[in-house]
């Protein structure tokens, strides 16, 4: 009964994460120091790059647990979840994006490529998670935050690290406890018409909770670096994605979110510092791929809808940080200034509306292609500020450019308001 009590306590306690061994930054080096050898290169001397002596034999490729084993149960459970994910509403079905992410993951995971299956989930926020049966979920929000393919590889490699080191299995037993109950009662919840019921709660649990201890996260960081370097990516890109995350977090006033994240992850500053340092020791002249163009090409056609998802989350301050980073990158500035305007239009505090107009004007002049709604948004703001003539002009321009727009009827209706 003590076991049961502990299990129940684990189930209900607020802190599912948290390694028991205490904080230990040497975990970063574990990946690099396997078999007692530290990998170090001397780039300046042009020395021959040595093959990485680490040993990833902890989990051999195409690992299938014995059906009678404890692990088999978890595998079976995850297979059920995976079957639901395949046809889930939130799955992002864009072929190019799925194929692209699968190819990056394959490259990063090397000989484990066949074990890994990617599912792209349409959602804001940067999140990726990997289950012990090789199922990886990646949120579309990650595509906005990775500045290049190497940074993407760092995150994928990090998740693969959890998988390869079987962190999942260690932690997942606790997660399965909780989600098993969810699945168990999912049936009842479904009967009550509660919309969130469904096995997706399981994956949400895996993703949101970050159910690994801090040391596991450190270890995964180390493996992420190794895997990406092994695949030829520049490891010095890895720390940068945490830099953006940190800046976003600092901008947000949502304290609860922040502390929940920190309960299960090392401080971003620590990760950035260590990753920067370690990157130097794994980098060779063969690890130089950054892949900015490739990622940019994939994201460009879908970026507007992904940014809209972030805006809908209504975390305006963090959103601005993300947008400013995208502006610094310089792709399709017209689209980005449009969203600067949209954010202010939706927030509508103080002089936001005036500022929104200024951004829409900037978008009209900036290089790139703004989304079709630019003139409509401008018209809307002008209308709200009482500048009816200007609004009419903007609406007319919108209708001229988009005569078949689904909302053309409504816009024409607005056009007919009397001038004030």
């Amino acid at each position: 009964m003590i076991r049961a009590a502990r299990y129940s306590a684990a189930l209900l306690s607020a802190c599912l994460a948290g390694g028991c061994a205490g904080d230990d930054t040497s975990y970063y080096n574990r990946a690099l120091e396997k078999n007692g050898e530290v990998v170090s290169q001397n780039r300046e001397s042009g020395a021959e790059s040595t093959p990485f002596p680490y040993d990833l034999a902890d989990l051999s490729p195409a690992h299938r647990p014995d059906p009678k084993s404890d692990e088999a149960g978890i595998w079976y459970h995850m297979e059920k979840v995976e079957r639901r994910i395949k046809t889930a509403g939130e799955r992002y079905r864009n072929r190019e994006v799925n194929a692209y992410l699968a190819s990056v993951a394959c490259r990063v995971t090397g000989s484990y490529c066949k074990d890994v299956r990617i599912y792209v989930i349409r959602a804001a926020g940067m999140n990726a998670s990997m289950a012990p049966n090789g199922m990886m979920s990646i949120r579309t929000g990650l595509l906005l935050r990775a500045r290049n393919e190497a940074q993407l590889a760092a995150v994928i490699g990090h998740e693969a690290g959890h998988y390869l080191r079987q962190h999942s299995l260690q932690r997942l037993r606790d997660v399965i406890d909780k989600t098993n109950s969810l699945v168990f009662f999912n049936f009842i919840l479904a009967a009550a018409g509660i919309p969130v019921a469904g096995d997706l709660a399981v994956l949400a649990a895996l993703g949101d909770i970050q159910a690994y201890g801090r040391n596991h996260e450190r270890e995964a960081d180390g493996y992420g670096l190794l895997l990406m370097s092994r695949a030829g990516y520049d490891p010095e890109e890895a720390w940068k994605i945490w830099d953006l995350t940190l800046r976003e977090m600092k901008a947000t006033k949502d304290y609860e979110d922040r502390s929940q994240f920190l309960a299960s992850h090392p401080e971003p500053e620590e990760r950035m510092a260590v990753l920067r340092k370690l990157a130097k020791s794994v980098k060779t002249d063969k690890t130089t791929d950054i892949g900015r163009e490739r990622l940019r090409e994939i994201v460009a056609p879908i970026r507007a809808e992904l940014i809209r998802d972030e805006l809908n989350a209504r975390r305006f301050d963090a959103f601005e940080v993300l947008l400013d980073q995208l502006i610094a990158d310089g792709d399709n500035l017209a689209e980005l200034y449009y969203f600067k305007g949209e954010m202010r239009r939706l927030r509508a505090k103080d002089d936001d509306l005036e500022k929104a107009l200024a951004f829409y004007a900037k978008a009209a002049q900036a290089p790139g292609t703004p989304p079709p709604g630019l003139k409509r948004s401008a018209g809307l703001v002008q209308y709200k500020l009482g500048r009816i003539d200007a609004a009419k002009e903007s609406f007319a321009a919108y209708l001229k450019d988009n005569p078949q727009a689904p909302d053309a009827g409504i816009v024409r209706h607005l056009l007919k308001r009397p001038a004030k």
């Binding site: 129940s8 209900l12 059906p67 404890d70 149960g73 399965i176 168990f184």
Partner: protein
Amino acid sequence: MDGRGRIPGPAGAILAVAALLVLGACQTTAHHTRAKLPPEPEKRRIVLLPPDVELSILHAGGGNEINAEWTRLARQNLSANLAERFGRINARLVERKASAADFGEDAKEVQLLKLHEAVGASILIHQNQGSMLLPTKEGKFDWSLGPEARYLKRKYGADYALFVFMRDSYASSGRVAAMIFAAALGVGIRGGVQLGFSSLVDIETGEVVWFNHLARASGDLRTPEGAAETIDVLLASFPK
């Protein structure tokens, strides 16, 4: 769970309310619109859609997990028992091997399966005791997947589709649930909990011709005998 066996916090509330919503004082409640299947043998073909069955256990070592082996056994026992049972009433169990729908590739079938789940959940919540009864369905059992169900008829060459959904637990997590169910039912429960529903759909019209749900504190799907017993209960008043 504290020493007195109460589960603190919202999780406890979830379980309690869930139990109250679904479980009445009865253990099983069968509904049907048809007591008999058509007499012609060629109109008595039944395809068993993927049974959604899960068995779990708490090991002495702690931690609860789904037991894959038991679940596999349960499914085997279920299929074997059904085949034999249908044989006795001169109906035929149509084999359904792994289908494209299992991999999300038969979009139509996938939608029908999801729809059935939603209908099953609605029947559970609206057709049984409790405050969620629908006045328009008073005294009636009127549920259907609609004529698009015909797709399954064409695909499997069957007249009816049988859906089975079962959750079965033999140990602590079940005990956790059982403690709550016990409170709701006013019954002392020691063992595991068995929860499930089953429905028979006329896939020519989409009509749900038979539906049963089961919630009780006994039952063992791991052995052929146990499976037979459970199915006896689940398939009570199945059309002949």
